[in-house]
């Protein structure tokens, strides 16, 4: 018979058995028993400064490694503070497990101190959640939570555990199996449909691959590359998928959508076969639906059956793990290619394919995504260009949400998946800094840029303390335009430039701020300082806070206005933007 152990110890052992070596959290009254176990446990606990950032850091860890990220919070406010991070992970299909403490089971429902209905509050914000009120359910539940978070379409799972369960003594019963009779994980795609897809691709005149976050989640970059090459198709890669096809790949066209490139959006508008892989036809990608890929037959591969036909009914629906589906598809495409080589060439099709490629290349040449520089001020695009140069496609870049995120996605090139971490679906400001903490703990060897705006940075400023405490060598680069830039852009373009509550006054002195935490900081506003300042930041062995003052009224282009079709892009400012008088 095994020895008696506490629920808290059992929890720690379950986490260790799941391979967890690092968790992000914040202790409190009801999680005291667990923290007492962590006091001398192999699992490293990283104390963040706000629970929301624990969830974001766990996401950063998960997005970087593909492993389940873990965060922990106490009952009541601790748990409610996690929710933004949970929903963020849900929207971007990121596997995290959140452990929250709950008041003693006898006190549940009595409005006890720091009691909140965590189970109820987080139900719609998680893939699944649990309330554990009996010690005998604990181990089974933890293993289930990890299985649910990481399998199928990944997502956040929360386990709420009452304090009496953490305190109770019991025997650890080895968990031999996880039984969830109603949890359907679709992995193998339908063979007949995959065959149809191959045929359709083979016969297409203007094929286009549209790849997204599902490729990253499925670790299917290699397979994607093969598909793109076998299909001889250009590929647009979404905000969530950047890096899954190297930006240097000749078939890579860049990001589509609201701030996508001209070539990507024109390719979508004109293709005749759309090979949609691990994507969900997000409204920021499609623009006006009726005008989205209007001539295309759609092949849609996704592991989530509810995504198929949700926005656009595909001609060839394939429910399955995109990696496994692509392995099969690639085999068929290769066979078709070999067979075709033996027959007289279909001249019409070859000519159409050549014309398509010519057209796509021409679109790229006509309106490329460009690094813009100025002699008097730092252009935001200039900043992205320099980060791109320093990164060489290898650094981890986390971003917040807004203009800087879009410029970064347009101009920083990634050669691998899991380097570009951003809040795509939920668009949570304050994501960039804590995500960088998670990423740096996951990959201590990597250069990590936390690229944030002056708005979002101030949402996560407390985490400078976490960065300082651990000496994390994160390079925090603030693209500081003095405004909540994206909202300001919309006010400029659609609200007569009435800049209501978007100017950020009172930004702190960066040198003093960094010095207060014990590391280096600097503010620059001259274009000729940019390169050397970034190099200095990278050379610094510890953290570095670089405040880059950029031109304040720059707008992100191309832009597909809300409600317009992708083909109706605005490529640049219609007229010089008036700076409002103060």
């Amino acid at each position: 018979m095994s020895t008696l152990i506490s629920g808290a110890r059992m929890l720690a052992e379950c986490l260790a058995r799941e391979g967890v070596d690092c968790i992000f959290g914040y202790p409190g009254g009801v999680t005291l028993p667990f923290y007492d176990v962590l006091y001398e446990h192999q699992i490293r606990h990283v104390l963040v400064r706000h629970e929301e950032n624990a969830a974001f850091a766990a996401e950063g860890f998960a997005r970087t490694t593909g492993r389940v990220g873990v965060c922990c919070a106490t009952s009541g406010p601790g748990a409610t503070n996690l929710t933004t991070g949970l929903v963020d992970a849900l929207m971007d299909s990121i596997p995290i497990v959140a452990i929250t403490g709950q008041v003693t089971s006898k006190l549940i429902g009595s409005d006890a101190f720091q009691e909140a209905d965590t189970f109820g509050i987080t139900r719609p914000g998680t893939k699944h959640n649990y309330l554990v009120k009996r010690l005998e359910d604990l181990a089974q539940t933890i293993h289930e939570a990890f299985y649910v978070a990481s399998s199928g379409r990944p997502g956040p799972v929360l386990v709420d555990i009452t304090k009496d369960v953490l305190q109770a003594q019991g025997h650890y019963q080895p968990v031999t199996a996880v039984h969830l009779p109603g949890y359907k994980v679709f992995t193998e795609g339908h063979t007949g449909q995959i065959r149809r897809a191959a045929q359709l691709i083979q016969e297409s005149h203007r094929p286009l691959v549209y790849a997204g976050g599902g490729i990253v989640a499925a670790n299917a970059s290699k397979e994607l590359r093969e598909t793109v090459e076998l299909a001889d198709a250009p590929a647009v890669v979404t905000l969530m998928g950047l890096g899954s096809l190297p930006a240097e790949h000749p078939n890579f066209i860049s990001m589509p959508g609201m701030h996508g490139s001209y070539a990507a959006n024109m390719a979508l508008t004109n293709c005749d076969t759309l090979i949609a892989l691990g994507v969900r036809f997000d409204d920021r990608v499609t623009g006006r639906l009726a005008a989205f890929a209007p001539h295309a037959k759609v092949i849609h591969v996704d592991i989530d059956p509810a995504e198929i036909g949700k926005i656009r009914a595909p001609e060839v629906p394939i429910v399955g793990d995109v990696k496994r589906v692509l392995v099969k598809l690639n085999r068929l495409l290769a066979e078709l290619k070999t067979a075709e080589a033996k027959e007289p060439a279909d001249e019409t099709r070859s000519a159409a394919r050549r014309a398509w490629w010519h057209q796509v290349r021409q679109w790229k040449l006509d309106h490329p995504l460009q690094v813009i520089t100025s002699e008097s001020e730092i252009k935001p695009q200039h900043l992205m260009g320099e980060i791109d140069r320093l990164s060489g496609g290898q650094a981890i870049v986390t971003s917040d949400v807004g203009q800087h995120q879009m410029w970064a996605a347009q101009l920083i090139r990634f050669s691998e998946p899991r380097l570009w971490l951003n809040s795509g679906g939920l668009g949570s400001m304050g994501f960039g800094l804590p995500a960088a903490i998670g990423a740096q703990f996951a990959r201590p060897d990597k250069l990590v840029f936390s690229l944030v705006g002056d708005g979002g940075f101030q949402m996560s400023i407390p985490e400078l303390s976490t960065i300082a405490a651990h000496g994390l060598p994160i390079k925090i680069v603030i693209m500081n335009n003095g405004y909540l830039g994206m909202v300001r852009q919309w006010q400029t373009l659609f609200y007569n430039n009435r800049l209501s509550s978007t100017e950020i006054e009172g930004f702190p002195d960066t040198e003093k701020l960094a010095a207060a935490y014990g590391f280096k900081g600097r503010t620059i506003d001259k274009p000729w300082e940019l390169r050397s300042a970034l190099e200095e930041a990278v050379r610094e062995p510890g953290p570095y806070l670089l405040n880059v003052k950029v031109s304040s009224m720059e707008n992100v282009y191309p832009m597909v206005p809300a409600g317009a079709g992708l083909g109706e892009m605005v490529l640049g400012p219609p007229e010089p933007v008036a700076v409002p008088s103060k």
């Binding site: 039984h179 009779p181 109603g182």
Partner: protein, 178 residues
């Protein structure tokens, strides 16, 4: 248009909330909902009648099937199914119309479950439309109180239920890193 959804789900705390949450999140109003455990006490059968935008009906079923506690969700709106409902009516009736009330009840196949000097409590089952008529008729005899159970539905054709087998934890758990 009203959609009739039949669900088989795990009999666990919160399972009901997950299903109804999917509907309330989309602003759909539930017309009726019944739930009770099945022969297997670990499972419940639920029938929901809900006003769903016709373009979203399939999506709602798919989202329900995604719920981890849901074993199967079916749309019975247009497939062969029997839909029944129970109603209990308390009718206060003067002495002179008591016989007539009993006669009407007989026509509807209804059963008197309580009788007093004040009147009757009468129960009947049937499809929701027929029950509506019954209630109207009873109302014509005097003051009534009505309780309806909400629709219960069963598909006429058995649907294949594919349950997921247990997944051994050996496949799941990676050894702790050194």
């Amino acid at each position: 248009m009203l959609q009739v959804i039949s669900l088989l789900l795990e009999n666990k705390p919160g399972a009901l909330m997950r299903v109804t949450g999917l509907l309330s999140q989309r602003g759909y109003n539930i017309e009726s909902l019944t739930v009770a455990r099945t022969l297997d006490p670990e499972l419940s059968r639920m029938t929901i009648v809900v006003d769903v935008d016709s373009t979203q009906r399939q999506q709602v079923i798919k989202q329900m099937n995604k719920l981890i506690n849901v074993l199967q969700a079916n749309d019975l709106t247009e497939s062969p199914a029997v839909v029944r409902e129970l109603v209990m009516v308390r009718v206060r009736t003067p002495q002179e119309s008591r016989t007539a009330v009993l006669k009407e009840s007989e026509i509807f196949g209804a059963r008197v479950v309580d009788s007093s000097t004040e009147g009757f409590v009468i129960e009947t089952t049937g499809d929701p439309e027929k029950l509506g008529e019954f209630i109207d008729v009873m109302g014509s005899y005097g003051e009534i109180d009505v309780t309806r159970s909400g629709a219960l539905a069963i598909a006429l054709e058995a649907r294949k239920l594919r349950l997921q087998p247990p997944v051994p934890t050996k496949e799941l758990i990676t050894e702790p890193r050194p």
